[in-house]
Amino acid sequence: MSNENITEPVVNDNLSADALDGFEPAATPDTAAASALDFDDDPLSATGVSRKSLVIFFLIDTSGSMKGKKMGELNTVMEELIPEIRRVGEADTEVKVAVLTFSTEVRWMYSTPIAIEDFEWARLRASGVTSMGAAFKELSARMSRNSYLNSPSLSFAPVIFLMTDGYPSDDYREGLKELQSNSWYKFGLKAALGIGEEANDDVLAEFTGSKDTVVHAYSGSQLAQMIKIIAVTSAQIGSKSMTLSDDTGHEIGEEDVFSAKQKLLGQQIQELVSNQVEDTDVPFDTGW
């Protein structure tokens, strides 16, 4: 058997535009490093299997209305959440986190997505207005192989989790339109959390594409529960391969699997949310 039929570095050189299915190619890889594979013939020395990567984007409203208790609760629950997502990422997917905050201005917590093992939550502060449209535009610009989604190997579609407590103060539709033309967004898992009375679930559903993946938190304890439900569920579904749609009784086609994960996310979020006990439902004699 010939050992010479090894493909030379070709990650992106000969890719035709349509083969990318709408995803732009990454920057040219470092060919010098790629060809320097020295033949080490030790059968026991191996590098880790190439893992698929998943970036979880958190879009967090840090406008003035979030100030005080809400922001404090959000910071605390996010700190607690990171180790929980870490457990999800322990398997065969490399999970990274990127946090985009939007108020009067749009800012990334860190300038690049950080591996979940190394991620540390930097506490956020709230002030200003709700520039959601600008956040959508910024996200769209970064969700590119030349920017935040530059893993050389395969990626799962990203998870995008939007949290807001108010109505956008800018033209969110224009930003959303731009985002919707981004393939990563199209195939991504989208979920949103409305916080308090002011948040508009219809706007959030426009962002996620369906009402199933929008939930609402009215109280502090709900906020913590909902953030965890959405983040953990979407990280779980996002970091795994599609699960078989069993017993279709016929050969599965592309239409059967299209956005299967997004649908599953909607189902699971709804199921988990409905299982949560409302504060008011708790009888006086329990919970002690």
């Binding site: 090894i6 059968p43 870490r86 190997s153 579609a157």
Partner: protein, 447 residues
């Protein structure tokens, strides 16, 4: 779903109750808890029956499996069922994973994450086979476990990287997640994990069975030896984003093996699949050919897939072809120079190794200090690949003199330089020399 609380007592089917101590982990079908039952610690798997299609049938199958018992001690088998709760929720308890075993996922990642309980920071600890012998032994053990399972008329159904624990020092294997095991031909709703599922299951045209297990087994073996995905090459990487439809395409409708000799469209890509490229140069042809068959004709013709017994023979051969050279280089004999048919030479230090030819096979076993052969290699009726039959050792009283020690329980005959055959009793040995012949009974060997 009914989650259990720490401290809660779960009633067992045949009396007594298990007390929930902590959460071990959760998976697609439910959550696993650490429990105390009858004064001992166990793992309790508690199902989310809302996610099950037929919980009653599933429970009945589990009961049957418990009654049948495990096919061998390589399985972390369900032990006792819990009583069904009012809404039909149930679980089962099983032994805890013993210490010293690492998950297959950690082996593939080459490290495991340990969370520092104080800071919550994750620390990476390397996970690697201690020796080539341990690795090939692990492979033989995996194959053998599935051979035992299939011989008992059952199929595993969702074979994937989460289903095994391996002792990287000895090659011992534990098959866990045994709750979906079902008689061949039945399926209780589990599909499997893409990448491990047979293409016909991914496409939705077949349900998991013994034939699809064979495909998944080949994937597991490939991943363990070649440290990469057999179907992930240039064609797949080009998609950049692994959407549901690209998974359906690359693992179902149009799965192409990375080293398909007749289709070069999906070759491994340097910089991403370096492991596969490297190991494809290391493993001998008979191993590579078995994978080529599994992932080319085996894709469309399930009956042509390699059966466990065949894999077992191939890997027993592979183990016997390991050479541990004095210079520290350990590799398969195919990676050594062969100055003549019977000699292997280390390309690094030049040391030469004689070899032993057996009467029932064409390939030769290289001889080096510490090399062993096993019961199944000297007796045609034996399937025992763990019991050492003979070992090349240095004579304790005559330093520098190498010989073979009879570690078996039977008498052998060995030819000495005077031309006569002498009886070699168990525990005894004889020196190796150019004209050595050994008579094991039905099988004979000579240098």
């Amino acid at each position: 779903m009914v989650e259990l609380e720490i401290g809660q007592e779960v009633e067992m089917e045949y009396g007594g109750s298990a007390k929930v101590l902590s959460v071990i982990g959760s998976g697609g079908q439910g959550t696993v808890y650490l429990v105390r039952f009858n004064g001992m610690k166990w793992a309790l798997k508690w199902y989310d029956i809302d996610k099950m299609k037929k919980p009653k049938v599933f429970r009945k199958n589990l009961q049957t499996n418990i009654n049948d018992g495990p096919p061998s001690n390589k399985f972390l088998w369900p032990k006792y069922l819990t009583k069904e709760t009012a809404d039909g929720t149930f679980g089962y308890i099983m032994d805890l994973k013993p210490d010293g075993f690492d998950s297959f996922v950690d082996i593939l990642n080459t490290y495991k994450l340990e969370i520092d309980p104080l800071t919550g920071h994750a620390v990476k600890r390397p996970v690697k086979f201690a020796s080539l012998n341990a690795m090939v032994t692990a492979v033989i053990n995996i194959v053998n476990a599935f051979r035992q399972l299939h011989r008992s008329g059952k199929s595993y159904q969702d074979l994937n990287d989460g289903g095994f624990f391996i002792n990287v020092n000895t090659g011992a294997v534990l098959v866990c997640d045994c709750d979906n095991i079902a008689p061949d031909g039945s399926n209780f709703g589990i599909g499997g994990k893409p990448g491990y599922m047979a293409p016909e299951v991914v496409r939705g045209v077949a349900q998991p069975n013994v034939q699809t297990d064979k495909y998944s087994l080949a994937v597991v073996l490939f991943k363990l030896l070649f440290r990469g995905d057999p179907m992930e090459g240039e064609k797949v990487v080009r998609d950049v984003c692994l959407t549901e439809s690209s998974e359906l395409k690359h693992y179902g409708q149009n799965a192409v093996f990375v080293y398909d000799p007749n289709d070069a469209s999906n070759r491994p890509v340097r910089g991403i699949h370096d492991n596969v490229i490297k190991f494809w140069r290391i493993y001998p042809d008979y191993i590579k050919e078995a994978f080529i068959r599994s992932f080319t004709t085996g894709i469309s013709e399930p009956t042509k897939r390699i059966i466990e017994n065949e894999w077992q023979k191939l890997f027993i051969r592979l183990r016997s072809e390991i050479i541990m050279c004095g210079c520290g280089r350990t590799n398969f004999s195919s990676m050594f120079v062969q100055p003549n048919e019977k000699t292997f030479k280390c390309p690094k230090c030049g040391m030469e190794f004689a070899s032993l030819g057996f009467s029932d096979r064409k390939y030769r076993m290289p001889l080096y200090l510490g090399c062993r052969f096993y019961e199944c290699e000297i007796s045609p009726d034996s399937d025992d690949f763990t019991k050492i039959a003979g070992e090349l050792v240095e004579n304790k009283l005559k330093p520098g003199m190498l010989g073979i020690k009879n570690c078996s329980e039977r008498n052998w005959k060995a030819k000495m330089p005077d031309g006569a055959f002498y009886d070699i009793a168990p525990g005894k040995g004889f020196p190796i020399w150019q004209g050595l012949e050994i008579d094991f009974g039905e099988i004979k060997a000579q240098i």
